[in-house]
């Protein structure tokens, strides 16, 4: 298995390089530069700043020097936040976003999985309709509606949580919940669907013919196969949580990576944008590898070796 992981990571390198290249040129294609909107800076000073950052070089030279630095692990300095390198900025904010994502995923799984299982077990009963309607609401309410609603309800309303910041544990509740509920909805629907699909297969009939109780049928026979669609969803979803976290970070004023991304995109902070894109891409790749491993563990037929 170790060899498989290494092989996948090595395969990821060319992908990352391609992404870096694509993003580099896309980012440069846009009109405007990182130092344009500064308050009226005299032209010569602006040119000196640009020269300092190497922006006066021809584009292909800039590309090569960036790539050269990249393979050595140097993501360059941030253009906007003078004195900070991209790596430092990512390093300080990524853990926050990752934490948010992890908590949200935990919430999503701990609400969604049981909801989906119960809905599948009591198919077409009121419990099922209730759970699936709840899930539908979760899907259709965007996070920037859910967030303010929750703030309204639990923060201004009940006064239980502070509406902003990320300092204490209690600060983490509302943001994680907002994000988590949205994904819980998807998890619930996928779990229900996956379980029902498995439950209609022949080997479930065999299990019943052996005298297994419904609980045993569900948990021992159906669960592994039924979870496959959920697992397939979680990988990209986790990466999606991280990349979509900027909404939450903006609403709740959390110093995560998402906010940096948006602001650096708006500010044309090239290196920061590239750094963040690469970080996210790497994250997605890692999540895909994990997902494939989990799927192989669940489904013996997909084990390649």
């Amino acid at each position: 298995m170790g060899r498989y992981v290494v092989k996948r990571l090595l395969q990821a390198i060319p992908v990352l390089l391609v992404i870096a290249t694509l993003t580099f040129f896309m980012v440069r294609l846009a009109p405007g530069g990182p130092f344009d909107e500064e308050k009226k800076v005299p032209k010569e000073i602006k040119e000196r700043i640009e020269k300092h950052y190497g922006l006066d070089q021809p584009l292909w030279k800039q590309y090569l020097s960036y790539m050269g630095n990249l393979v050595q692990g140097d993501l360059g300095p941030s253009f906007k936040y003078a004195g900070w390198t991209v790596a430092e900025l990512i390093g300080s904010s990524a853990p926050v976003s990752l934490m948010l994502g992890l908590l949200a995923m935990l919430i999503a799984l701990s609400i969604g999985l049981p909801a989906g299982l119960i809905a599948a077990l009591y198919k077409n009963s009121p419990v099922d309709y209730f759970a699936m309607s709840g899930a539908m609401i979760g899907i259709c309410l965007p996070t920037f509606v859910m967030g303010p609603l929750l703030i309204l309800g639990f923060s201004s309303g009940m006064g239980w949580f502070a509406p902003l910041g990320w300092y204490t544990w209690s600060d983490m509740v509302l943001p994680s919940l907002t994000l988590g509920l949205y994904y819980a909805a998807y998890v619930a629907r996928l779990t229900r669907g996956g379980m029902l699909e498995v439950l209609s297969q022949d080997f479930i009939r065999t299990a019943r013919a052996k005298g297994a109780s419904e609980r045993r049928v569900m948990l021992k026979h159906a669960l592994k196969g039924g979870l496959l669609p959920v697992v397939a969803f979680i990988g990209p979803a986790f990466a999606g949580i991280i990349s979509g976290s900027f909404i939450i970070e903006t609403i709740f004023f959390i110093p995560g990576l998402g906010r940096f991304f948006v602001t650096s995109a708006l500010n044309r902070d090239y290196t920061m944008v590239l750094g963040t894109v690469l970080f996210y891409a790497l994250l997605i790749i890692v999540m895909n590898i994990i997902v494939d491993l989990v799927q192989a563990w669940l489904n013996p037929r997909t084990r390649l070796e």
Binding site: T23, M26, A30, I139, P148, F261, A265
Partner: protein, 289 residues
């Protein structure tokens, strides 16, 4: 021939339609969606207010007989703004989905049918694009190219076609090896005929289902972009924009959020339920019984 034999056969579409029409939730959703769409298209012509008519003296009015949905911070009538915002949101949703459909179906069926190297290359391309953090790329596009409205739904469509391509390719590959396709080859049919007359009609089911589910996803994406200020720009408005404006004032003037949010959510719900209903109708072996 008896009279019974004169009736045309029950095609699979007809069977599916029958099943769909018995699904009360899907039918109700369909009706709701049509009503909302009609309202958005026709509604603004009915009232006397226009979407951008600012009347600062009547700002922040709660719903009344004068202004059915109230007014916003500039005194604009919320009813008209909600409906005309709806036009934009629905247009974005449907058009972007159409773009992704065309690209995705073409890409997926070509890759799936021709297989081999072409398939590997085409799908590898899809895989790489999939690794790009999407929303981020859309943001980049929007930022760079100065928030062009046309670009908006092209950008969104470009994001969504990937999944469509994967779905179509998967279907085509599984159908390619069935016996009726082999029979078509044995009968000497050209590849084009096989793709268009035999493969695609059998692939359309999942495509339609996915398309109905893509529209709400697109509308959500547009709303997210509006949140960042990158979506639709004034003087136009969309539900996303209205919701964002309303969310800021939720504790003071709740109607600003409530009405657009209700329309938005109702549309999303209906489309999702219709998509679910279509899925059940077109594939009778699915989770209902």
């Amino acid at each position: 021939m008896t009279a019974a034999d004169q009736t045309p056969g029950a095609s699979l579409w007809r069977d599916a339609w029958r099943r769909l029409s018995r699904n009360r939730l899907a039918v109700a959703s369909g009706v709701a969606f049509i009503l909302v769409t009609l309202l958005c298209v026709v509604g603004p012509f009915v009232t006397s207010y226009t979407a951008n008519h600012a009347d600062l003296k009547s700002s922040y009015q709660p719903p009344s007989t004068n202004h059915w949905f109230g007014t916003d911070h500039l005194g604009r009538d919320l009813f008209v703004r909600t409906l005309s915002g709806g036009r934009i949101s629905l247009a974005v949703g449907i058009l972007a989905t159409a773009v992704s459909l065309v690209i995705g179906v073409a890409w997926g069926s070509i890759a799936g049918y021709f297989g081999g190297r072409l398939d590997s290359v085409m799908m590898r391309f899809v895989d790489i694009l999939y690794s790009l953090p999407f929303v981020i790329m859309v943001i980049l596009l929007m930022v760079w190219f100065e928030r062009n409205f046309l670009l908006l739904f092209a950008a969104i469509g470009l994001v969504e076609w990937l999944t469509m391509a994967r779905i179509v390719r998967g279907q085509v590959v599984s159908l390619k090896n069935t016996e009726f396709v082999e029979a078509a080859r044995a009968l000497g049919y050209s590849r084009l005929r096989i793709i268009f007359r035999h493969l695609l009609p059998n692939v359309i089911g999942p495509v339609i289902i996915y398309a109905t589910l893509t529209v709400p996803a697109v509308m959500l994406l547009e709303a997210v972009l509006s949140f960042l200020g990158l979506g639709v720009q004034a003087p136009m408005s969309s539900w996303g924009l209205l919701i964002n404006e309303g969310a800021e004032k939720i504790d003071v003037y709740p109607w600003l959020l409530a009405f657009p949010a209700v329309f938005f959510s109702l549309t999303l719900f209906s489309l999702n339920f219709i998509g679910d209903g279509l899925r059940d109708a077109l594939d009778p072996k699915s989770s209902k019984d």
